[in-house]
Amino acid sequence: MSGTLPKALSPQSVPDSAGRFGSFGGRFVPETLTRALDELVAEYDKAKADPSFQEELDGLWKTFVGRPSPLYFARRLTESCGGAQIWLKREDLNHTGAHKINNTLGQALLTLRMGKTRVIAETGAGQHGVATATACAHFGLPCVVYMGAEDIRRQKPNVFAMKLLGAEIRAVESGSRTLRDAVNEAMRDWMSSVEDTHYIIGSVIGPHPFPMMVRDFQSVIGREARVQSLEAFDGKLPDCVVACVGGGSNAAGIFAPFVADDTVRLVGVEAGGRSSEPGQHASPLTFGRPGVLHGSYSYVMQDDDGQTCDVHSMSAGLDYPGVGPEHSYWKDTGRAEYIQCRDDEAMKAFDMLAKSEGILPALESSHAIAKGMEVAGKMSPDQNLVICLSGRGDKDAMELARLRGEEW
């Protein structure tokens, strides 16, 4: 890639100083966390203005993560869809196998700048846990990862990797024993340890400044994709960008640098699960309502009493009843569209990418592949569509074997 990557963490018009993306976002947390969040805002502001911070992060992204990740032309996939040219932004090729490492390194650097000595995190699919454990190992920070007991079952390879990296895994047995319960537990730990501990939130969720900060760190995906597109498409931007949305960090990362470009269609793909029945999917932007969950105001799957509904996705990373507030803002302003992909469609897309391109995508990313193929099929061959391949599928091999009734 010869183009110049915009250096500064990309300035955006949202959120405002209260962390609001339109009406979404904000801070709905216990008072105990306010000071830590204020400190984080102050330190992040200073870091953004400090060229040495960006330089160090860029250096790590380059030499430790392996950035820039390639923009890969999926020739056989394109041929089988018969529409737009399909390109994959290969975040699966990052160190630790997903986009999550972009953010954890940034936040680990901030942890050091704040003088904090311990890191906690929560994880669903395990990719964020592995990325946090990796960043902590790199900097010598002790790391505790909260993970739902159900997700521990689904994601054994990542659980083992985190242990190898020196992290302590704490199984969360409450509630649905998935990501949302792990977030609750991590928040509780943070409430008691906030003086010396930083909580590395892994998605564009949570109280301000997390949705903004995680988006900024992940925006490296979109900033690279932008430069790479201009090079690969004769000076043109992509016509469409597609990414999966659980909490929505990879999607926010690839969308944000294209938001001001009206010609670029942005498509987020939520987990459609087994069906549109309540409890059978994880699609708050499609079926949810604005409400409060995990510290911010955004679309949430809630009942009439405000209780969070159970959700389902075969992909642990998408199995979450809320979504980042900026996605809610993009949805309501019409800047991005959000569609759903069912488990079985994602599974087919997994096979398709594996067999036609030799790439095993993460189950999360398989949702984006499935709908990206559909969208591309309705476009013309002179158009270009970029799919964010947010992570690799090795971690899902055991779960896939189980779902297919095969011996492991």
């Binding site: 904000g26 801070r27 709905f28 216990p30 409450s174 906030v194 510290g295």
Partner: protein, 269 residues
């Protein structure tokens, strides 16, 4: 002036301190919650906090979280809590408050939540995840309707912010004793007394201390500096033992515990 305001005004004029128990609504069921409210009134507590079970609490420790889960699993619905409170109105003369996550209040609707609470007999709400920056609208609605909005101050809250929180609160200020979640503790931080003392000099709103308070010794130590003390997990832990057969027994045990704490607080000068 709400019933809670009147209660604190009276206590202050008599130089007495308040004991405020916390219980979870619907744990193990709403009849039991109603019985405890009646018992508390007879025992002489100043006011009672009724926790509205929430699926994703973050400020609460394992004891209260588990009680929320038990209540939700047994089919808790907010409207049923309001109906139960209304049914026992004649038998409960102490002020009662809900402690509810903003997720719940927002879903019900801010105005509607206040209206339904007041109709049911609640005189205010504690909203543990509504920060002063986000509270303007709800705080105004509460003030307009003489409904108390109790906000929290913690050991990490800077002093000028404590004053701002006091300005948008009524009823009392909930001073969180420790940096952390709810739960019983043996030791409470030594600087707590100074911190609460300072805040009481800044505001006319009564200041009550909560989180970690479970023993008569805590009451003797903290009673003199605060307007009241809040006891939650120590009671909820006892409720967790209640089942269909031993209800009377558990009620008796809680009554004894509350009276022991009351004796301690009434001895405070």
């Amino acid at each position: 002036m709400s019933l809670l305001d009147e209660t604190f005004a009276k206590l202050r004029s008599e130089g007495r301190k308040a004991l405020l128990p916390f219980i979870t609504a619907g744990d193990p069921d709403l009849d039991f919650t109603g019985d405890l409210l009646k018992d508390f009134g007879k025992a002489g507590v100043a006011a009672c906090e009724v926790g509205v079970p929430y699926s994703d609490p973050v400020a609460d420790g394992p004891v209260i979280q588990a009680s929320y889960q038990r209540a939700l699993e047994s089919g808790f619905r907010l409207q049923q809590l309001f109906e139960m409170r209304k049914r026992i109105a004649a038998k409960v003369t102490i002020p009662t408050l809900t402690m509810a996550s903003y997720a719940i209040i927002y879903r019900v609707g801010l105005e509607r939540y206040i209206e339904q609470s007041q109709e049911a007999g609640f005189c205010g709400a504690i909203v543990p995840d509504l920060l002063v920056e986000e509270a303007a609208e709800f705080s105004k609605l509460c003030a307009d309707r003489d409904f108390n909005l109790i906000q929290l101050v913690t050991p990490t809250t800077p002093r000028e912010r404590q004053v701002r929180i006091a300005e948008s609160s009524s009823g009392f200020l909930y001073f969180v004793s420790v940096t952390g979640i709810t739960g019983e503790r043996n030791e409470l931080p030594p600087q707590l007394i100074d911190n609460v003392g300072w805040l009481r000099e800044q505001t006319d709103v009564p200041v009550c201390i909560g989180f970690g308070i479970s023993q008569p010794e805590h009451v003797a130590k903290l009673g003199p500096v605060a307007d009241g003390l809040i006891v939650g997990s120590a009671i909820v832990r006892r409720i967790a033992q209640a089942n269909a057969e031993n209800r009377g027994e558990v009620r008796g045990e809680i009554d004894r515990y509350v009276r022991e704490m009351l004796a301690a607080i009434n001895a405070v000068k």
